[in-house]
Symmetry: C2
Subunit: 325 residues, 2 copies
């Protein structure tokens, strides 16, 4: 492994000069030249570990998400990455698998590796951020809020639930809701939108049609099966996220009830869908934009911005199916 000392010797300068060349501070152009040449000949790669140890920070940010296989989060990751790499930061993606324990392992790694900051989609409302925050490193929460006084970017979840439900209520009588775990904020808020839409239409929310499962395909499947087995099954359903939507539609299709023969609205959109866009109503959640926004906020903090913590709520957009009937 060649070091700045090797390069310095070969270029006939001091190690400090070599360092300066690689960090863009003022060095005479001839020495810059000599150093670059020597570095190339030795195929010198600066040792980031040493640099980080010395500087006590590295141009890396951690992005911790609960499910790397969910396109909602990978879309968000793209947004983060685009902004970060534009600014010269690398992103390391960590998959917490919705486990608080794995999450804290990664947070601890972020500290131990002196990363500049972290963007966290919390696995739970019990996510432990104390340690990271104590180090003074900026943290931005995405998708869900944390209970800590930090920046955040969230979707207008209650709104999303309300919009979706409202639209279905225009042509359906019994509109069900399938969410993720009840204790997860996004899930509860979207359900609250479902309730609100009913009340706004002068209806009692049909609580027998309210289901909390998991934010995964099998969660949607399970709940949809249950709903269809009801004495008086729903004639429409709001899916609390993309994967639940997939599961619910799978089950409907298997029962010969392909949308729009049953009304379906999906909060977040159907990933890689092959259904006609007119068959299913979608409340688009701007996942990429969420990532972009979070990354920008984080970069501002890294650069020293210390205004009070902000929470940005992203608006979403209804893409109605032609008619669900």
């Amino acid at each position: 492994m060649t070091t700045i000392y090797d390069v310095a010797r070969r270029a006939g300068v001091s190690p400090a000069t070599v360092s300066r060349v690689f960090n863009g501070t003022s060095v005479s152009s001839e020495k810059v030249e000599a150093v670059r040449k020597a570095a190339a000949e030795l195929s010198f790669v600066p040792n980031r570990t040493a640099r980080t140890l010395r500087r006590r920070t590295s141009e890396v940010i951690a992005l911790v998400i609960p499910d790397i296989e969910n396109p909602y989060f990978t879309e968000m990751a793209r947004g983060v990455e685009d902004v970060a790499s534009e600014a010269g930061y690398s992103v390391v993606l960590c998959n917490s698998d919705s486990q608080v324990e794995k999450e804290s392992t990664y947070l601890r790694i972020a500290i131990a590796e002196h990363m500049s900051g972290v963007i966290l989609a919390p696995a739970s409302d019990h996510s432990g951020l104390d340690e990271v925050i104590a180090t003074g490193r900026p943290v931005v929460a995405v998708d869900r809020s944390t209970g800590y006084d930090i920046d955040g970017v969230v979707m207008a979840n209650r709104d999303a639930g309300r919009l979706a439900t409202q639209h279905l209520l225009e042509s359906n009588r019994r509109v069900a809701y399938i969410g993720g775990p009840e204790h997860i904020e996004t899930s509860a808020e979207r359900a609250e939108g479902w309730r609100a839409a009913h009340r706004a239409a002068g209806l009692q929310p049909p609580l027998d049609l309210l289901r909390f499962s998991s934010f995964r395909v099998d969660g949607g499947r399970l709940a949809m099966e249950e709903l269809l087995a009801l004495p008086e099954p729903p004639d429409a359903v709001v899916a609390g996220n993309n994967l639940i939507g997939v599961g619910a539609i799978q089950v409907l299709t298997e029962h010969g009830l392909t949308p729009p023969s049953v009304g379906v609205a999906v909060i977040g959109g159907l990933p890689f869908t092959t259904l006609s866009p007119s068959a299913v109503t979608v409340v688009r959640l701007p996942a990429r934009h969420m990532g972009v926004t979070a990354a920008k906020m984080l970069l501002e903090r890294i650069r020293g911005d210390d205004q009070p913590a902000r929470t940005i709520v992203l608006r979403n957009e209804l893409q109605a199916a032609s008619a669900s009937r």
Copy 2:
């Protein structure tokens, strides 16, 4: 930031002893106790940067993939992660976006950060691995081969193309193939399988039905549109990967040709599909298994195994649609 010196002072031992406690070498149990207590009280987090600088290696492996939004690669990532974290390694996921340049940036980071090894799904056959390999760090190639003498795990691509095509030829006359870019190995090999299946059936491969586009949804869409515009359009199509499959089926559906009214076989499977499993033939590519295998190979190398480079070819499995007609 508290250091081992702070902990040492508080526990009344030397820094070396603190280090030993955190690295599991022989220390009397009473001192272990004292150190643990002091560390907890100071909420000490060992500084990995310093450790890595000193040890010249870190328990992190890099996983570089061309498209983080493709479920095929995230499924693979899960496999890698499960094996790695089981063995005490963290995985940092890097998205090369199919660009050789971004890819080398990440490879250089892997070197500069002293990561233990890298698993790479090469963006191209021009991927530059010389620098990493020169450092002696193990590299395992996945999905595509590299031209370097290193371990690799690939799918039986030619076979996959052959199986899919063969199956469609049982009930269809004109079977098209839509692949990714022709210069990408996986793409070319699967196309070769398509040719082989035709020849095996005593047919001339209908080259007017062979299309190379991109490995993305829009690639599938574009090519499918072209195929449908043909004077004599195909009555079946093999999609060269999952996203092409999605795009092709979208277009078919828009034209009122929902499978199985046109025969469709997708190499790799349809992510989050809501279609009936009997409508589309799938050649399952064991992506997770690929990740698991690659991670295991990498760990062996990290542990010092120096047998000659191996390439493992993973077999895949046909899941036939009931009948494409």
